[in-house]
Symmetry: C2
Subunit: 388 residues, 2 copies
């Protein structure tokens, strides 16, 4: 049954080739101090940095740069960013990059004026925001997390071996996001396919939950079919504009809160994957692909009718003359075939996980209860072992 919910997504999106020009319209809404947040510097190589700086200069903004945001932004980096933002009383945080950069920008936006330790308040205790929030805008250069149109902000604490995502409310969503599919062309293939699997997993995490028959499930089947179709094209030709733009658009809708409305969600693949990430610093999407099939094959008997539906409606498995178990298994086999075809990492060994790490990764995994089976830590360890 469609449960009760409220929905509001105030982020303004500018989508398409050349949409960076709309940064002009947005900048005029904010004060002169802009904190420019970006990652390892690829935006300097592909020219996006220069384009953004040129627009900032036209608007006579004073720019405070905060570079070097890592793929899994750390709590130490967060403290640094908060200091830059607060010391300079910045009026806008402009994130130029992928999901990690956007996540980090949002974490800084709520944490800069936090009167206690933001890691404790917003991550360990998951408290609501009751301090000043600095507005955030995003220019996306990598696709996958949906961070450009939601309140998610994942931060990693290596010392505590914790990678935690706080999903903040709509007052923390980016005020605007600029999505130019061509900005994703220069991304290495490893990052592109990791992003594609992150998108797919965002959808399946929300799909494999509940015995319901609600509209979100139908929307998600559509998103998955479109993603499978376009990702196969993008694999062959990363500069196929239609494929890359569809993937960019699907990524946004996979995790901008719509498809989760009124239904339960799972998120255990993300929980296990994030725990793996906290120990290995591996690329997020690959931690998900490495553990997904072991997880889904394990929970399949507990949500058999949904796995059967997934096989038929998403993977076009012909159900005639087969048992439900056979249909469901065939769906997961097609998914495996697709994942191998993309070139995803399919085991944890490749990500640097060793047998002696399994128990502690399992121990540090947060257990969510929205899926078809609430796992014990022992079951998590078994899934990790099956993923080696």
């Amino acid at each position: 049954m469609l449960g009760n919910f409220s929905y509001c997504n105030p982020t303004k999106l500018y989508f398409g080739e050349g949409s960076l020009k709309y940064l002009n319209d947005e900048l005029s809404k904010y004060g002169e101090k802009v904190m420019l947040v970006y990652g390892g510097g690829s935006i300097k190589k592909n020219g996006i940095y220069d384009q953004v700086m040129s627009i900032l200069k036209t608007h006579k903004k004073t720019v405070f740069e905060d570079a070097g945001v890592m793929p899994n932004p750390t709590v130490e980096k967060l403290y640094e960013g908060c200091k830059i933002a607060k010391d300079n009383s910045v009026d806008l945080i402009l994130a130029v990059g992928g999901g990690s950069v956007c996540d980090y920008a949002k974490a800084v936006s709520v944490s800069a004026y936090c009167e206690s330790d933001p890691w404790k308040k917003y991550y360990l205790k998951m408290e609501d925001v009751n301090n000043k929030i600095i507005p955030v805008g995003c220019v996306l250069t990598m696709v996958g997390t949906g961070s450009e149109m939601n309140g998610g902000a994942v931060i990693t604490n290596h010392e505590q071996k914790l990678k935690i995502g706080h999903v903040f409310g709509e007052n923390v969503f980016p005020k605007f996001s600029i999505l130019d599919p061509k900005f994703t062309y220069t991304l290495p293939k490893y990052q592109m396919i990791a992003g594609i699997y992150d998108i797919m997993n965002h959808i399946t995490e929300q799909y494999f939950s509940g015995e319901d028959d609600n509209t979100s499930d139908y929307i998600m089947e559509g998103l998955l079919r479109s993603l499978i179709h376009s990702s196969k094209i993008a694999m062959k030709n990363p500069e196929d504009y239609e494929a890359r733009s569809n993937i960019m658009w699907i990524a946004t809708w996979a995790l901008n809160t719509l498809v989760a409305k009124g239904k339960a969600t799972d998120w255990m693949v993300h929980m296990i994957g994030q725990s793996v990430g906290a120990f290995t610093d591996a690329t997020h999407g690959m931690t998900l692909s490495a553990v997904s099939l072991a997880y889904y094959r394990y929970i399949c008997p507990f949500g058999l009718s949904k796995f059967k539906r997934f096989a038929v409606n998403v993977w076009s498995v012909d159900p005639n003359g087969k048992t439900d178990e056979q249909i469901a298994a065939e769906g997961l086999s097609r998914m495996e075939e697709y994942m191998r075809g993309l070139g995803l990492v399919m085991n944890l060994t490749e990500l640097g996980v060793t047998e002696n790490m399994i128990d502690v990764i399992a121990e540090k995994t947060l257990i969510m209860d929205g899926g078809y089976k609430v796992l014990s830590k022992y079951e998590v360890a078994d899934i990790l072992k099956s993923s080696m």
Copy 2:
């Protein structure tokens, strides 16, 4: 190809049984003068009027009632509403009803402070809004138009025999909308199924356009499948909460701007249906059902691959051993069977159209150019004749 676009939908939705309580949160954001807009009085019979008035009273609002909004709101009614809104300097227009009431509320919100004739400015000339806009909130009691989360506002001028919709920008979207599926239970079956077909046609108007392969088409196939599924259940049991809530949610997403982003759209069924409506005052959804099949069968050869896809992906037609034409025709036959099963009006005669009206209805039909075939007025007349 996914064309360039911007997207923002700021409407806050409260969805589910009992969600009227959130009117309390929203009312506190506005001044004390509330214009309460509703239709023929069914909300007095089903108790919704009393519930709303009780909340307004709790917040000590001064209420200016504007009742009697007709199914196709007229320009004369619009002028009346503008006078009430302006004379009393209302702070909020609260629409309680279906799409017509919400449309009317938005038309008043942009027209009250319009310095020239709003019919000329916003309808005949389709100009942008450059005057004060009064905020609108909606409590939905009938499902179909999507008006609760978009900028659409259709007004009818009987003297000029024109029924025109202006799609206003996001500053005119309702600030909030309250969607309680149970509020739709008391709707007569005729109105329920007319609303269901309005939803279906909103989706097909946006689907049957372009040779593209974009994500929106996949999302729309999901929405259509969900609508077909839930509407069959609602037909048998109008008080099936899951079915009615899915239908309510699909209606919103069918026309809240998402699925049209980056693609061409058709809208000729609406143009022909609205012209029929201007002459007959028939229920909107029934004007669409009466002309749809003649229209789609006529344009099918011009968009054959999309009609084939529609047959397979929406109506589960088995394509094996059939020509594209046969597959497409079978899809439309299944659609006809579904429409007849719902009990929709399938011809114009039943709506009071006579042979001698056809030429003038065709003459008054606005021709849109986004579909698979740009129609001449003669072709419109032929479609109308085939729909008798």
